[in-house]
């Protein structure tokens, strides 16, 4: 497994124009992504917003749009897994998120790529895991207790 990028592909039963709107219209994006954006997406613009996922409304969302080629390609940069309010992520490396739209029979093939994880410090990755439901440090304790029995 490549630990430096994520690739996703999904076939949507909708026209490319529909998918483009869902990706790039701030209101539509926010509906499925669960974020309330403060501004529209525009090339070069830093867009902020608030997470609307129940229980996590205190988190902010921030991306900088890189490219928008209508019904073809949309990309932005952000800080992956920036969920710790005590940390200022602004000086840290970003990852690049790219959406590629392809018209196919019966709908649209959407390819999503997030790349640049090699620039994210290992310590930050470990921290992100720790924050996931107790994380690996807790798991280690659990297993240690388990095997000690």
């Amino acid at each position: 497994m490549d630990t430096n990028r994520i690739d996703k592909e999904i076939l949507l039963h909708a026209a490319p124009s529909r998918v483009w709107r869902a990706l790039t219209d701030a209101g539509e994006f926010g509906t499925w992504f669960r974020v309330k954006l403060d501004a529209a997406f525009a090339v070069g613009r830093r867009v902020t917003g608030h997470v609307t996922y129940p229980g996590y409304e205190h988190l902010t969302f921030e991306v900088t749009v890189e490219r928008m080629d209508p019904e073809d390609y949309f990309s932005f940069r952000w800080h992956p897994y920036a969920i710790d309010l005590a940390i200022d992520y602004s000086a840290e490396p970003t990852t690049l998120v790219e959406f590629r739209i392809e018209a196919v029979e019966g709908g649209t093939l959407l390819k999503v790529t997030e790349s640049g994880f090699e620039r994210i410090p290992a310590g930050r990755r470990a921290e992100a895991i720790r924050m996931n439901d107790g994380g690996w440090a807790t798991q280690i304790n659990n297993i240690r207790d388990h095997v000690a029995r």
Binding site: M1, K8, P121, A122, R144
Partner: protein, 122 residues
């Protein structure tokens, strides 16, 4: 991204008796505060010399060396010479951490794209 999604994911793991037996020394090596700190530090900052590792620690250089040797026997770290220094680096954990992290973000994308599908097809 709905970063919050990953927080709701819980993983449970079960170990067979044989696996647990094999795994016990691995976890025992981490069952010490100083050693856990050393692992986390090497994960965060990359390879460091004994001098660097003991500079900010209240534990003696000699004790740090002993802890690193225990970690090395469990395969978490490896020591090598860099000029006149003895430098230690993290071994498999780093890869495990990187994979776990990407797995998590990958699941977030799966969830988000699931919602996108419902949104545009609904």
């Amino acid at each position: 991204m709905s970063r919050a999604d990953a927080l709701s994911v819980s993983r449970t793991s079960t170990l067979s008796a044989a696996q647990a037996h094999a795994a016990a020394p691995l976890f025992a090596a981490l069952g010490d505060e100083t050693r856990l700190k050393l692992v986390l530090r090497l994960a965060a900052r990359g390879p460091e010399s004994i001098a660097q590792l003991s500079a900010t620690s209240t534990v003696s250089r000699q004790a740090i060396t002993k802890h690193l040797e225990i970690l090395a026997r469990a395969g978490y770290v490896r020591g090598y010479r860099r000029g006149r220094e003895h430098v230690w680096r993290l071994q498999p954990k780093r890869v495990a951490i990187a994979r776990g992290y990407l797995d998590q973000i990958s699941r977030q994308w799966d969830d988000a794209l699931g919602r996108l599908t419902q949104f545009v097809e609904g």
